[in-house]
Structures are given as C-alpha cells and as structure tokens.
C-alpha cells in the first residue's frame, strides 16, 4: 500500500518544515500551569473544609500536595523523555483529576460522622482510593512514555491489540450477569465484592490503535474506489465489510451489555477515524444512518418484543419523560436534574451542596454532584478544560507528520470528547442516560488508568509532532532506522498553516 506513496514522499521527511515555529519545549510553562492547577485543587479542598467543618484544618493542603508530587513526577518523565510534548495537556488533566479526588473526599466527609470529619485521613475512603488510583495511573502513563519512545512503534502490535480489544469488549457480555452486571449494565468483570474492572475502558484504546493501523493501510481503497449516487461517493459493497463488523459489535454491546453509551462510543470512534482517513463525508452519513437506524430499531423492538431490547426502550422512555416516574424509574435522572437546577448559576459552593441525595454520585452523576456546588459557571469552566484537552489532542494530530499518528491522536482526542458528551449529555437529559464514567472525575481505577494511558499516547504523539526535525534525536529524520517497517513510508502531509 505504501509503494505508490513512497516516491512522492513529502518534504516533511526530507527537509526543514515551512511554517513550523522555532521548536521550544515549553516545559517550564507546563510546570507553572501544573502548580497553578494544584493551587486550585488546594483552594477547592480548603473551601470544602470551610463549608463543611466551619474551619480549615491545618492539613487541608495535603491531598493537593500528594497529587502535586505525583504529577510532578510525570512532569519530570515528560521533561526528559518527551520534551516537546504539548504543555497544556498535563496541567489540564491534573486539574480535573485533582478536583475529582477533592470532590470524592468531600463526599467522604459528608458521610463521616461529624466528630470524625476533622481527622479524616488523606488515604481514607473513596477519595483516598482515588488518590491511590491516580498514583497507579500516572505511573502507568509514565511507564508507557518510557516504553513507547515513538508512537509508531505500537502499530507493530495493531492486530494483537485489535483482537485484545474485541475480547475485552466481549468478556462482560459473555460472562454471567453476576460476574459482570452492575446497575443493569454488563460492563464489568467482578472479582469479589469490592473489586471490579471495566475492560471496555481499555478496549477503547486497543481498538483505536487497530482502527488507525487498518485504516492507514486501507485508506486508498476506501477513499478511491466508489460509486457515485445522489451526488455522494459511496464505497463499494465489499469495502463495507469491516464497517459492518464494527457496527455489529457495537450493536451487540448495546443489546448484551445493555449500554448505549459504550456502543455509541465505539461506533462514533470508528466512523470518525474512518472519515479522517478517507476524507469522505459519505462514511459519516452511512455511520449516522446505521447508528440512528439501529437505535430506533432497538427502541421499536424494545416496545414491541422486549427481551434484550427492553432495557434500551426503558432508558429511552425515561429520557423522554423522567418525571413520569420520579421515585423509581426516573429517579436517577430526576435527582441529577434537581441537583443541577439547585446549583443554579453560582452553585452552593464546594461543600455546600447535598451530594448525598444523588444516586451514583461518585460515578455516573459526579458531574451533577459537582454542578450543584460550583454552578453553571464552574461547570462551564470544567467543560472548557475538557474541550481544551480534546482540541490540544486534535492539534497534535494536525501537527504530527505520519498518517498513523494523525489517526491515532485524532481518534483518541475525539473519543475522549465523545465520552464527555455522552455522560454529561446523559445526566443533563440532552441524550438518553447511559452508564459512562466521566473521564478523570469519576471514582474508579479502570477509567482513570485507561484515560491516563490515553493522555500518555497524546503526549507522545504531540511530542513527535512538535519535535524539531533536525534536533533531539530526529526520529522522523532517519527513516531507515524507523521502527515500524510497514509505516515508515506511509503518506505524510505538510502541516497547513
């Protein structure tokens, strides 16, 4: 597939890039922003204590400092191993993660008896667990940066990762409900009562590596061979095969794991990477028609046949009118809306709300719980931080020189944004509610680890994108030594100014 492209190798691989700014590592900017984020997290903790304990304990800064130390470690790894990585990513994610730990600690405080509140240990409760998970996740992210010196190296394991991704997706669906079902969604692998992992969070990453690799190889055939119909180029039937396979997987997820959100996530991820690879709007249209057609069919079957579709039908009904059954079926969504509404524009202040009234406030409804306390203005700021992460990821995709990197970074960044959309849209009744985690905020190790790995990949790709061609090891400048044989000559592009 690369034979045709090799002779036409763009100037990017051979010479100085026009339009690229003088390379600056910007690590000091990252460090300053990181410190600012930790100051915000500490201030949040102090406000929580002031509201809940009527005093600020002398140890209020300890969780923020512990987090700061962890993130500082990652910063040092980046400084030495990915010096040209995007400087905004780490501080933005650190802020979200820190606020998540702070809010979980705030819930622990609310549940502790008043005399125990002032002495709640740093590693106690869910907040403490989340702090520990953060440590593990950041170590994993650092390890990934250490192992993966060039993002293209992962393409070597693309098929392995693709297979692993499908297996990870399927495990909860195949397992009996008692090993995999929590709150009606079969998304987990449960080990005993207290420990469970959500393989779908990791499958997301594995599948995306596979998609990116597969699409880079197939992009010509997918984008060139087509039939024109109604003014739009449609692909040939036989090229539709993989799309249909992924569509079926996402429908199986929908039906057997009873989870629209994950299904939407996988499918959206695939369709968007397909679109980026082929630049064909027709793929988007086909994807949208298939997804909404499938969802409507599931809704229709749920209302008539029931069975495996009943859960989806029920969720859609709740979405259409949550107040029809506010004490039972619509309870979660109604309570989420009431929490957000009570927060209003400015919120009750950190520590001033009633997150105890919200079901699943540590997981699905954490955004509503936080929203009650920080209000519309605070939530808007959080959305902007998410948007910043996603757009910085897309920015890395734009800037990186190889197609695989573009697809990988673009797909990961979009997936992160889509996940935020699915869960925040779900709890605010924009779309039907599905059990997704809120990246970096929700309690839970799987989600945190997977998303930190995702950030590590984005950091690595952005480092590759911003790294000057002639300096710093110049991996892109020595194609002969380029690790991934299949990809070293893949079509590349000049960054458009």
């Amino acid at each position: 597939m690369t034979a045709a492209a090799t002779p036409a190798a763009s100037p990017a691989t051979t010479g100085e890039q026009p339009g690229v700014r003088l390379a600056r590592s910007r690590r000091n900017a990252e460090l300053s922003l990181l410190l600012l984020a930790m100051v915000l997290v500490a201030a949040y903790g102090a406000t929580v204590e002031a509201n809940m304990l009527d005093t600020v304990t002398p140890d209020f800064w300890v969780p923020a400092a512990a987090l700061g130390a962890v993130f500082l470690g990652l910063h040092l790894v980046i400084r030495f191993l990915a010096p040209f990585a995007d400087p905004a990513l780490l501080p933005a994610v650190a802020l979200l993660n820190g606020l998540g730990v702070g809010f979980l600690r705030r819930i622990d405080l609310g549940e502790a008896l008043p005399p125990e509140r002032e002495t709640l240990a740093v590693f106690a409760g869910q907040g403490g667990r989340q702090l520990a998970w953060t440590l593990v996740s950041v170590i994993l992210a650092a390890a990934l940066l250490v192992i993966m010196r060039d993002h293209r190296s992962v393409s070597r394991y693309a098929y392995t990762l693709g297979l692993a991704g499908i297996v990870l997706v399927m495990i909860p669906a195949v397992l009996p409900g008692r090993f995999s079902e929590i709150n009606g969604a079969k998304l987990w692998i449960k080990f005993g009562e207290s420990f469970s992992i959500q393989p779908g969070e990791f499958a997301k990453l594995a599948l995306l590596v596979f998609f990116a690799y597969y699409l880079v190889r197939k992009r010509e055939v997918l984008s060139l061979a087509s039939r024109r119909f109604l003014g739009i180029d449609f692909p040939r039937g036989r090229d539709l095969g993989p799309v249909v396979v992924v569509w079926l997987i996402s429908l199986l997820v929908l039906i057997f794991e009873k989870d629209l959100g994950t299904s939407l996530l996988y499918f959206g991820m695939f369709v968007v990477t397909l679109y980026i690879a082929t630049e064909r709007v027709s793929w988007l249209l086909i994807g949208l028609v298939l997804f909404f057609g499938g969802a409507y069919l599931a809704y229709f079957l749920g209302s008539t046949v029931g069975g495996p579709f009943a859960n989806f039908y029920l969720r859609a009904e709740i979405w259409l009118d949550p107040f029809a059954d506010p004490h039972d079926k619509g309870y979660q969504l109604v309570q989420g809306l009431l929490a957000l509404g009570t927060g209003g524009l400015f919120g009750a202040g950190p520590g001033g709300g009633q997150p105890g009234l919200l079901p699943e406030v540590r997981n699905d409804f954490i955004f509503a719980g936080i929203g009650e306390e920080i209000g519309l203005f605070g939530l808007s700021a959080l959305l902007v931080v998410y948007l910043l992460i996603v757009e910085r990821g897309l920015r890395a995709a734009l800037a990186v020189r190889d197609s695989f990197g573009k697809l990988l970074a673009g797909g990961l960044a979009f997936t992160l944004g889509l996940q935020v959309f699915v869960i925040v849209g779900g709890i605010s009744k924009l779309i039907p509610l599905t059990g997704q985690t809120t990246p970096f905020l929700s309690a839970g190790g799987s989600s945190l680890m997977a998303n930190w790995l995702l950030i590590a990949v984005l950091l690595r790709v952005s480092d590759g994108a911003r790294r000057p061609v002639t300096a710093g090891g110049g991996k892109a400048a020595r194609p002969s030594a380029g690790p991934p044989e299949q990809l070293h000559g893949a079509p590349t592009e000049v960054i458009r100014p």
Partner: protein
C-alpha cells in the same frame, strides 16, 4: 487528512456547545422549577434544619418535633396518635401536608412573614430559631370523651363523627372523625415506609383519612326538623299551635306513605308543635313542610348555613380546614312548583337533604346562643418561638343570624323538652339544662339507618356551654339514642374542663 481533522474539531466544539446550551437551560432557565420541585430533597433538608413549632391545646403539646441524628434533623411526632389526627393532620416528608399542619405551615415552619424578625436575628447570630407555636381551642377532656365515646360505642359502629362548639364564640371544643389513624408512621423520615403507611390508609374501605366531621354529608333525618320548626315559628305558628299529625300520611303526588318511627308516636289527628318535636312526629312535620312550602324551608336552611361551600375552620378570617356544603336538595317539580312528595320527605330530613356534622352543631349552637351563629374556628393563638409574643389571638365574631331571639327561645324550649321528656333522654346532665334533637335517617332500603344527635347544654343561668353534633353512620336501631349518650358525655367533659372555655 488535516481537513477532516479540523472538521472533527468543529464537531467537538458543536457537541460541547450543545452541552453548554443544555446546562444553561437546566441551571439558569429551569433552575427555580427544579430547586423548588416536590421531588427535591434539598428543600426538605433545609426545612427540617429548623425545629418546627408545637401545636398545643389546653397546655398539652399535640404535635412536637424531636431531634434526630439523621440527615433530616427533626422528626415530627404526635404523642396522642390517632386522637387528634383529623384536626392536626400531618406534615410528611414527601406527601402533602394536611390539617392544621398544612394551614399553619408557614408559622410552624418559621417561614411566615410574621416571624421575619427571628430570621433576621438568625442571620446575625447563626442560630436556627425554631418555628412558632399554634394554640388550638380544643378541650383535651372533650376530645377524650368524643374519641373514646365514638370508638367504644355500644353498637359497634365503625364510622361516625363528633363535633363540639362553644356556642358563644364558635371555638371548637372537640372534633373527631371515626375511624381515625395514627399520623406518626406517615411522617417517618423513611419515605418508603411513609408511603406504604399512606397507601394502607388510602385503601382502607372505612376511609380513615376522611374528615367526616367537616367534609362528609349524610341525610340528617329528624334533626332537620329543628330547621322546619324554625321556619314554622316565623310563619305564624307557635310552639303550642296544633298541627295535623296522624299515624300515616301519603302526600298528594306519591303512593308511598310517611309513617312514624313507632305506632305510639302522634297517632292523634292533631298535636302541638312542641309535642311534634318532642316525640319526633314524622307525619306532623311532613304535613307542616308541605304547608310551609319548599321556598320557606330551603331559605331557612340556607340561613342556618346550608349551601355554603366556602366555609373554613382554622383561624378566623383566614385559610382553614375546608367544610363541605350541606344541601337541602330539590323539592320542586320540573315546572318550578312544589313537589309534595319530595317536600314531605325533605321536611323530615330524608330525600336529598344532606348535612355535615359541623352544620348540625352550628344549628344547635345558634339555638343555644339566642339565634346568633358564631364563626367556628380552631386556632386560638399564634405564639412566637420564645412563647413571649403573641402574633394572633382569635376574636370571636358572628357568622350569621339565622333566627330571632324569640324563635331561638321557642326552639330551645322544644329541644329541652326532647331531652327531658322525649327521644333524647340519654343526653341529660344533672344540674344543667340540656336540649337537643335526635335523628334517624334511612340511607338505603337494605342498609342500617344513620343515627344523629344535635344538642346543647346551658348552665343554671342559661349561659350556653357547649353545642354538639354526634353522627353514627349506619348505626341501625338505637343509633340516635347512642349518639345522644355520646353527646351528653362530651358536654359533661366540657363542663368538667372550665379552663378550656
């Protein structure tokens, strides 16, 4: 690949724009609606942060708040359980409040405008001053007598009601509806338990949640003869005027004859009005009604309070517990002329005549109070949380003047005769002048009759002390005598509790 990447960036911005717009919709536009939603527990948590005031009567706390360790800080408790339930109502976490708990909610909760001073003070001191206290007019002894009397009635009747009023002021002395219910489970902080308790009461065939004393009407039977007698007295008839009677009377347009309760009652062709009331002579009153005409009877009933559908019992001149309208029903033909059959039956309190127990008590009270009907009320006083300042003290006022002093005096003599010589002997009280009227009302051919008694007690100086109505639904034979007995006990309890007056 950069062009689609840029477009994906735009798509993400649009998705986040949708989220942002939707959050604006929820947190700005719909915020007030969600904040004050009935399903929003935060409102309750805030409400339960402050100690709700007491409801008291005769120095006894009937509803009070206990501190708990739960999320809702104060638990409402009703120490007397079912006894005062229909007056106090209940203040549940999720369900709707009822009774005094509902109508005085703002004052009890401390959110009333009257208590603004306490709220402002709290802002500076950081305290949570409790809500205000509501003092009721009820007499503990009279309420005990009414509750025990109804519950332990000799006939085993399941449903009924009793009301006692101070005729001079309109202050309620007792109000019981049977069967009653324990409000404590309904205010449980476990909303599932509360809902289950409510559902059980709601589905009970005997309707314990209904306030029969105020909102349920039944045919009043012979107690309605007091109204017809009043109309007669105002139309040239005196208590000694002989009126036609007999053992049976068939109105011109009807084939069904009206008879007396027993063959021994007024078989004579003529009896005096006094005798007709004393013996409860059906034929005499049926003929009297036909002679007076529908308009005169309906008008007299209206003057006593029938057909009023907006009366409330709570504070005077304020919102209160709603009282259902009593009705005389139609007594006319389609062409507007009197229908003698309907008129005859209505004159003895049958056909479409319907009365609430409160209305019965108001009729007796008007007679006892020289023709002046006082506005009934339950709230005697609103006391500040610190119990030093009074924000409201009831000042009795007349509701209407249904009859003149002379007519009232004649009716009083006749009703005293009922208790001394006639059907109401069970209500007699040593050393007091007691008057009344019994009633036995057919409900349906195959169901037992309802038993009624309306009456009053006067002291030696003729000062009215209490006016009572007792109703026993489907009591069967002896119902009105049992009602008279319970009424007598209630009035004795009022006499024994002079502090309540």
């Amino acid at each position: 690949m950069n062009a689609p990447l840029r477009r994906v960036g735009v798509v993400v911005m649009i998705l986040f724009g949708l989220l942002f717009a939707n959050l604006n919709w929820i947190q700005a536009y719909k915020a007030d609606e969600y904040r004050n939603s009935d399903y929003n527990g935060r409102v309750q948590v805030a409400e339960y942060e402050r100690k709700r005031g007491n409801i008291e009567a005769g120095g006894r706390a009937l509803a009070t708040s206990k501190e708990t360790t739960g999320e809702l800080k104060y638990l409402r408790t009703y120490p007397d359980g079912a006894k005062y339930a229909h007056v106090l109502g209940y203040k549940p976490v999720n369900l709707a409040a009822t009774g005094i708990e509902r109508i005085e909610n703002d004052f009890l909760a401390g959110t009333s405008d009257q208590l603004i001073g306490d709220r402002i003070k709290d802002m500076f001191t950081g305290d949570q001053t409790g809500g205000g206290n509501v003092l009721l007019t009820l007499s503990n002894k009279a309420q005990d007598a009414a509750y025990d009397g109804l519950r332990n009635n000799d006939l085993g009747v399941k449903r009924g009601a009793a009301v006692a009023i101070d005729p001079r002021t309109g202050a309620l002395q007792a109000l019981v509806s049977m069967p009653s219910f324990d409000p404590n489970p309904l205010v449980s902080h476990d909303s599932k338990k509360a809902q289950a308790a409510y559902n059980e009461l709601e589905q009970d065939a005997n309707g314990p949640l209904k306030n029969r004393a105020l909102t349920e009407t039944l045919p009043p039977g012979s107690t309605f003869k007091v109204v017809v007698a009043a109309a007669a007295l105002e139309n040239g008839i005196t208590k000694d005027t002989a009126i036609p009677a007999g053992s049976s009377y068939t109105p011109p347009t009807s084939g069904t004859p009206i008879r007396n309760a027993a063959a021994s009652i007024c078989p004579e062709a003529q009896v005096t009005l006094m005798e007709a009331v004393t013996e409860s002579c059906n034929t005499g009153f049926a003929k009297l009604g036909v002679r007076l005409g529908a308009d005169a009877i309906k008008e007299k009933a209206r003057q006593f309070g029938f057909e009023q559908d907006d009366l409330t019992v709570g504070q005077l001149g304020e919102d209160g517990l709603p009282v259902a309208a009593s009705h005389t029903g139609t007594m006319q033909n389609a062409d507007g002329g009197d229908d003698p059959a309907a008129l005859a039956q209505s004159s003895i309190g049958q056909r479409d005549v319907r009365m609430t127990p409160l209305q019965g008590a108001l009729i007796a009270a008007s007679v006892a109070n020289g023709g002046s009907q006082m506005r009934p009320y339950l709230v005697r006083q609103l006391l500040a949380p610190d119990r030093t300042t009074s924000y409201y003290t009831a000042k009795a006022r007349e509701l209407r003047q249904p009859i003149s002093g002379q007519v009232a005096s004649d009716l009083r003599d006749m009703m005293v005769s009922v208790v001394e010589n006639g059907t109401g002997r069970n209500a007699q009280i040593n050393g007091y002048t007691v008057g009344g009227k019994t009633g036995t009302a057919q409900s349906a051919p195959d169901r037992p009759d309802h038993g009624w008694f309306i009456g009053f007690a006067l002291d030696k100086n003729g000062t009215p002390i209490s006016a009572v109505c007792v109703e026993l639904e489907q009591a069967g034979s002896g119902g009105s005598a049992e009602a008279a007995k319970i009424a007598g006990r209630i009035m004795r309890a009022v006499i024994a509790d002079p502090g309540s007056r």
